[in-house]
Symmetry: D4
Subunit: 216 residues, 8 copies
């Protein structure tokens, strides 16, 4: 088995390569860890569940900084973080795993991004209590499931671009995140952009590209 | 052609019979007008478009109180209206035709219900400016298309039951009202109930049943 | 981990806060129990499966009144119930878990609501045998899966508002409750309102708001 | 242009060949009329709208017995009808065009089948008033749109096989007949069988095959 | 827990009551067995998987004639079967469980119905080899998954009514039986009627009603 | 307005460039005709309806060989055709427009391909009558709508690769060609490949690539 | 009729208010023009089709700068444009109307953004010929219909954030833009964000917010 | 249990019979192995997972050449392979199981087909590095999940026919392979043909028929 890790992706696109572990075996993941370690490369692993992490060998896990909540692991450590303007807003407790995937992806690349949670709009005062703090960010990532009403309300209150991450939280017509996704896309709040359901990694990547655009 | 008009529906269910004109020919509608007129009965006609109304004979239209915006007609006149606690809130100008269908249905049964429009949550201040007024109603009908975020925000702010009427306003993933419908159903704001897309008549009927429940 | 429990929801919206356990860990649920217990607050827990309940610590479960059929738990006990006009009608035995979620939510708030089960319309005599009893309620919750024909028949027979709760009972085109949901929404029986699939809690919340509307 | 009319279909399958006109040009339909007329064959034409019928030449229309309501035409006349046990039940006035397509197909083959209309279950008394009459048929065709609750109620009340024809009557989630179709298929009323949306011709064909099965 | 078993269903509709076990607990099923046994009633149980059957108590299973392939159990034994004209045709080996559910339902009611398997139309000679045998039946049940092409081919070759049972066999766009279901409904082969996906019980019920129609 | 016509597509991919006219204005189409005429290039135009063709100027239409049935036009004439092994099989008369789009695309590139029509499998003898003729082709294009059963039957009878073109012929669950498309994809007949609904052009392009593969 | 134009939207969110004309009558649009003209405000009108534009009165149209291709009108003129780093890339000629809606929205706010068209990836050389030019932009808007492959390829080649605008160009499974939308969302090219189908206005709004983020 | 193995399929259609194990029990699979072994026939088994393979008896597994990655087993050995022009291109590591199912099917029939992996278009240089090698094949199988952009890019670069196999790799709107499937079908790259999601066997079968067409 040989892998083509795209080490140049960061220089080409501004976003570092990451390893999506969802369908990979322990053997495949360990092979990639070995490859990166031998080349003294840092790597981010996403969608690495607790059972899958536990199935890795001791020497492999010893190399990783693993966070169960976000199912992410980082090889090669995290440098000091710079708070350069990205904020993450999550509607409910159940959306935290996706919000943390975004935060960890940003941290891997050196960006410190606080998570402001439990501000779903069914209790609007929770969002309004923190809106001044939220308005200070240059780029916002909004994470919400169910009906995704947070996206429209938030985008109408701030001047930063808002990246909506619909989550698969909910049941019945929430339909695995589809309703929140469609709500984000159909919103009439301008300047709202959207990534795939549960895609915290993608939202963080987009946020980094937006920050980079600012410095060109 | 003979029709079975359910004259006893009102006494049985508390909601007066109405004639849904969408697939009926001018001849069929005129026959029903004749029947009701002969029996000295009042009747509400819904989904009677301007072209279809214009296709009716002069003597028929002379009997009708027709409103183009809501595509409704009333035979037998409207009595004095009682403002007994139903309010209608509409997100945007394009939702007014559905909001008016609800208002006309309520008016036909003697209930006066004001329409508060242009309070979509992408500009939240518009809703907050009028929230005290809205909180005074005993039953609320909320009308919104696109992503339907109004439903969640509103239901979290008031103690009245909220009847959501998703509308087919929007394009792309708004999908003929399906996204607004799903947003209303998937909302975590408690006490929110939902009717079919564009069904202002049904929302008004439910509101009347709720008022009637109060007086039993 | 800190949680923002919305203790004021009840005074603001008339519906008490509940904890939706579906994606929460035992640790998270126990933290919430501790928080509420320390504050001498009552709390309702929904979607707490038997395995998840069994995973809680003894001190925690000792505080809870748990009902396996409805997957609900109540912290702080149930007061004497008042039978103030809400009735719950369930089509089949398989719909009982959802019907009981509604009944427990009402009980938590002090409302006694009997469940009338096994009245699906494929054997119409079963419904007709009990229709006089059903007609006496001021607000009805109807629970049905598969094709959801009960909703239309029931709403045509009573003057109370009917809250339809479609359930995920069925297979093939029943499609996880979608057919029953669509049947409730597409019904021409007026005064029928709908909540999300399997959402007994939401139906009970709406019923409480309707009762409250009556006393304003 | 040459056509392969399946003149032997009736002897092979018990159902006469019919010409589905929906996508055929006037020229194509006239060619088929000419072919059948020359061969002294009778033919049934379905989905022949009024505009399309008006576009045919005078000599052609002179040969046809055309019924606008059902969009059917018969070449070669109708023999005396035998009332041999098929009944057609339609929920509402808007379902009559489909019910008549079934009746005309049966008539073309010599079967007299009465249409019992306006017996939708939202006003259950309308159905119950006529249930004894309906119970006498050997095979029933039930025609309904919107939520299609009639199918379940009817199939639970009779011993005849019930052929459900969902119609595209309705709006919003009625979704062009899909909800009525799914309701018929998901029903727990046993002995209910289903054909495509608006397919009155197919239901009549199936009814004829059931009658024929009886005489073998 | 009390159950309303519809003992009169057979006299009312010609189809015996059956117990759908899919969401019932062992305790519920045993209670029903006890009830029927005490009343000396025969009963058919469907969707009783091997694990669920194994979870029943010994005294209960001793009363049942259980068939794992069809997941059916019969309480009270099977009488001598009469071969009165129903045939079952199955496209592939994987469709046999559904075909057997139909056969067992018929057997419970005293009808002997042979299953002709492995006649999928991708190898047309397999069907043609047995077509004369198939043509002799008065009523046919056809069972097929994947693309469901068997339904159209078969219905074009026989004069008996054909009841299509789409199965959930297949993957990808087969979509849990939806493609086979739609293929059966969209077929232009006349006289084809359809039941829900995997619903062998429903097809057998319909076949019995068709046989009964013949003897009235 | 300037266009980038891909004149080198044929040398690069073996398939000549064609102009898809569906959303182009008369002005745009005439500009392309002018460009190609000036460069002495031949061009194929697809989806050019009769009204759109009639809207072109006289000098433009004079340059085109237009066929209404297939909505195609050819600029620069057709050379002598070589019958090199492609056959087109169409289920019904309504599928002919798509079948002819394929035939015209092949003709534009010099391949003669006969269309064998009206061989839908609901009357299987029609296909079997011509199967020996069909078996002689090296590559087959099969065109069918509704339930698309022709694809499976045909692919099981021949050794040539079969390219399925589902058509939008049908109504109700035929769903604009989706059921025929899914039937082709879910078929267990091996060697069946599929193109988009109504895409006769794409099927012809694939057939040409298959012929070309043979000569490498 | 009174309208609440959100004149402060620009200062609050960085995006100017626009009037979506799709469901508005000529009278409503003229009223808005009058309101804005009287207040000496500039306004952007989107989705104003040629027929709808022609239906406005002469004095109204005299005030507007109308562009048929993008169905946009501007009241109050366009200032000198600044080329500050936004580029628009369109896959095909048919995508130009959406690309121009984005360009006009940007122009209204003073940003000059060139449109690079006809670079669909089925002829990859067309994109590669212009990639160096494309790489110079700070923010990219990509417009594509059908299968939307351009989004993935482009996002993998540049370091700017890419805003995907799926268009409704295509037929069959292209499904009104849904396939292009899903392709953009499911892409593994990082930093790709998405707006609703055909929503050029939304993409431009997001691009402006990204530019503004850069200057904070 | 008796099985009708279609031993003549190869001579009739050019594609050898294979056994799809997905819903078969160990007993059924062993019976087929026994049957084929007794008749000295070779057989290919697909969708035989590792657990299912481990459940077979030792004597049975001793007869099989099993490959876990592709879930395929071969009875009767593989002859020397001929590299006669089929190439397999896979977008990512996760697509390898499907690519290998195609390769094993081809190997079973004697065709050697190399797999070129990790050439997804989000890093276009990976594909371009190997394009000359890829252009040499006479028939190409392309395997990709998520947004399936590889299909369009590849088909625009080569003259061989391209058989697209969408895979179920991805999450959210990737929707079990549906987005990749639709992207392949909606592509404007001519000469692209498609098989069912994850259907490596079908793609290989089609490739063999294309090779055979070349030698006729």
């Amino acid at each position: 088995m040989d892998f083509q890790i795209d080490w140049d992706r960061e220089s080409r696109t501004g976003v570092p390569e990451a390893v999506f572990c969802a369908r990979k075996s322990a053997a495949q993941i360990e092979a990639i860890i070995g490859l990166a370690h031998a080349a003294s490369r840092r790597l981010l692993f996403t969608r690495l569940g607790q059972a899958e992490h536990a199935a890795l060998s001791r020497p492999s896990t010893a190399l990783l900084d693993y966070e169960p909540l976000s199912s992410t692991a980082i090889l090669g450590g995290i440098a000091d973080l710079t708070a350069d303007g990205v904020g993450i807003v999550a509607a409910g407790t159940s959306d935290l795993s996706v919000a943390r995937e975004a935060a960890r992806t940003l941290a891997f690349a050196g960006h410190g991004a606080p998570v402001i949670a439990d501000v779903g709009v069914a209790g609007l005062w929770r969002l309004m209590d923190r809106i001044e703090e939220i308005r200070k960010f240059r780029v916002l990532i909004a994470v919400a499931g169910m009906e995704g009403a947070l996206f429209s309300v938030l985008a109408g209150l701030v001047s930063a671009p808002v990246i909506a991450v619909p989550t698969s939280v909910g049941y019945g017509v929430a339909n695995g995140g589809t309703t929140a996704l469609h709500a984000a896309l159909a919103s009439c709040a301008p300047g709202l952009v959207v990534v795939n359901i549960d895609n915290g990694y993608g939202a963080a990547s987009a946020a980094m590209k937006m920050l980079a655009a600012a410095s060109r």
